[in-house]
């Protein structure tokens, strides 16, 4: 049974449909990330759950209880905000204690809980410090402890790491996940950072234009994107707007390039499809005589060093592809080298495109 349910939520701001009927069902103790670009409606959804805004239609249910019209101070939701939200006139301990003090539970067990939470977030040594005496990361830790102090039914996190530097961000996201698992608290996390969402969530919901494009486990989202937008948004993807030539053999054609794609088997001949190939699935090698089957020939246009791998962009007739390969192997394929890119017939995914719809937008793989 679902613990947190968002039922057909709609929210309009003037002519803008911020939420256009989203449905989410989250089990108790699960961690769901709402992922999407700016303006997709993810923060609006979170604010509706927190009670800071009311939906135009639809409902919110927590543990079987309808809370759509319950004011925020009666919802028992703990929230960590994107902006630093600690009360400047209170020290770390007083901030964490605030919610318990409101409930008259700050003494005895409440006091011990505050100590335990400050220890849990690794700030036992800084209980007397005021917000201006804490770093950004420490402030967000205190904010997390403060949100957890009231033993919320749902923990809400609104891009809590976006103001922090990269190293602290990675460290803190792991801590958030550790604490969430330790306390078993149902968590709704809003982020625009796909890596962050994939790293710490049980489920990810990709939102775009006020609707959920796809919801699933991080692995499902990465390996089997259901829509062109998800394919574009999650990870880096080569996208080829193609037509099925033979549904029996799985042969497709893109700008004169004929490929064998297992996923195209059973498709209708003439159907428009989007062939999706992860950069790590492509195999690049120097071009010799002859062109192997299911491959693409071209010239190395750029090389981008990414640390463990090097990203190589290959351009040929009618299209460009990117491939990730070990830096040592990439050194053998300098810019300008003629190469062959082998496209695995099993590794490519397929998404149907409308026959009479607009073509795929001209997306440069490097822009992803």
């Amino acid at each position: 049974m679902s613990y947190l349910e968002l039922q057909d939520l709609h929210r309009n701001f003037g002519a803008v449909k911020a939420l256009n009927g989203i449905n989410i069902a989250l089990g108790e103790g699960e961690f769901l990330s709402l992922l999407g670009p700016s303006g997709c409606g993810k923060t609006t959804a979170l604010r509706l759950v927190a009670g800071f805004d009311r939906p135009d239609a639809g409902g919110i249910v927590v543990d079987g209880r309808e809370i759509t019209n319950v004011p925020p101070n009666k919802r028992d939701m703990g929230m960590v905000f994107q902006a630093y939200s600690l009360f400047p006139n209170m020290n770390a301990r007083q901030n964490v204690e605030f919610g318990l003090r409101i409930r008259g539970k700050h003494k005895g067990d409440g006091s011990k809980r505050v100590d335990d939470l400050l220890e849990l977030v690794g700030l036992s040594h800084a209980v007397d410090r005021y917000p201006h005496q804490l770093s950004g990361g420490m402030q967000q830790r205190v904010a997390l402890a403060r949100a957890l102090a009231i033993e919320p039914r749902v923990l809400l996190l609104d891009e809590p790491l976006s103001a922090l530097d990269a190293k602290v961000r990675v460290q803190l996201r792991e801590e958030i996940r550790r604490i969430q698992l330790e306390l078993g608290i149902t968590t709704l996390y809003v982020t625009h950072d796909q890596e962050e969402a994939l790293a710490i969530s049980d489920h990810v919901a990709v939102m775009y234009g006020g609707v959920i494009e796809q919801m699933g486990t991080p692995a499902e989202m990465y390996t089997a994107p259901a829509t062109p937008f998800v394919a574009e948004f999650i990870g880096t993807m080569n996208r080829l707007d193609a037509t099925v030539l033979d549904g029996t053999t799985g042969e497709v054609e893109h700008s004169g390039l004929r490929l064998q794609v297992d996923a195209a088997r059973g498709r209708r001949t003439g159907e428009r499809v989007l062939v999706l190939i992860r950069p790590e699935s492509l195999e690049l090698e120097a071009r010799t005589d002859g062109v192997p089957p299911n491959s693409f020939t071209g010239e190395v246009l750029t090389q981008t060093f990414l640390g463990p791998v090097t990203r190589v962009k290959v351009t040929g007739t009618g299209t460009s592809l990117i491939a990730d390969m070990s830096t040592a192997r990439a050194a053998a394929l300098p810019v300008g080298a003629q190469v062959v890119a082998r496209i695995p017939s099993q590794g490519a995914k397929l998404i149907s495109l409308p026959d009479d719809g607009p073509g795929l937008p001209a997306l440069d793989p490097d822009d992803q």
Partner: protein, 262 residues
């Protein structure tokens, strides 16, 4: 420090100190030819004058009343405007300029006509009519000080964080917002105190006997005690400013400004 800067500093200091010294010197003289310097008799006269204590008490209590009414009126209003109606802020800012633009003599005539016919406990008492006029007079000082305070903190986030943790609107205002605009509220309060303690035109035309009226009376009738009275009122103002500095230096206030400015 460059020599030219030092000269300018000396000139600026002289601009403020020379009149004060002259007043002090004047206040220590006796109203008799040939008497040696110096005497504290003028200060003694002021401190033993019943009217001094009576009028200063009226003005001080009026100032407190004005501050309390203004804070009760403007803090929740400004909070609501910053939180829910930010588009109304420029309108209120424009309205706050009106007491600057309309001369007090025009304002008092208008107020006297407006409130004529109201009960005597209001129209005939400084605690009613005069306090109302002073709230209007203090409006710009209250507005611009509080506005700066509200703009230095993240009103939305602090409010939502407080509400999310279970606080009511009143608790949020009293325990979260107010402590973080304390400096602004204190600045507004002491500006109001200074205005009320020195306001002459409205009190004079409305025929109320306040401290500035007494000061004017002494100034016209007795020159040397007027000097002592001037310096004493100056010290009261300085005392108020010092209190502001001391209270404003309490813990957490810096945090309010710095965190809010991020």
């Amino acid at each position: 420090m460059a020599p030219s800067a030092f000269v300018w500093l000396l000139l600026a200091a002289a601009y403020f100190i020379v009149p004060l010294y002259a007043t002090l010197d004047f206040s220590l003289k006796e109203n008799k030819i040939g008497t040696p310097c110096c005497t504290l008799s003028n200060y003694s006269w002021v401190l033993h004058n019943g009217d001094f204590w009576h009028t200063i008490k009226i003005s001080f209590l009026l100032a407190i009343e004005t501050i309390v009414i203004s804070l009760l009126l403007f803090v929740p209003t400004m909070y609501f405007v910053h939180l829910k109606l930010p588009r109304l802020r420029p309108v209120i800012a424009f309205m706050a300029l009106v007491p600057f633009v309309v001369p007090p003599i025009v304002m008092v005539v208008g107020l006297l006509r407006t409130f004529r016919g109201t009960p005597n406990w209001f129209y005939g008492q400084p605690w009613g009519f005069l306090a109302t006029a002073y709230v209007i007079l203090a409006f710009p000082y209250m507005f611009f000080s509080l506005d700066a305070g509200f703009r230095s903190i993240d009103v939305h986030t602090l409010t939502e964080a407080s509400r999310n943790l279970g606080a009511s609107w009143t608790t949020t205002l009293v325990r979260v917002i107010l402590p973080n605009i304390r400096s602004a509220a204190l600045a507004a309060s002491f500006l109001t105190l200074a205005i009320v303690m020195g306001e002459f035109t409205i009190a004079n035309l409305a025929a109320f006997h306040t401290f500035p009226i007494f000061l004017q009376y002494v100034n016209e009738s007795q020159g040397f005690p007027a000097g002592a009275l001037t310096l004493l009122s100056f010290l009261i103002t300085w005392g108020a400013m010092l209190s502001l500095l001391l209270v404003g230096r309490k813990r957490g206030v810096r945090g309010a400004v710095i965190t809010g400015a991020r």
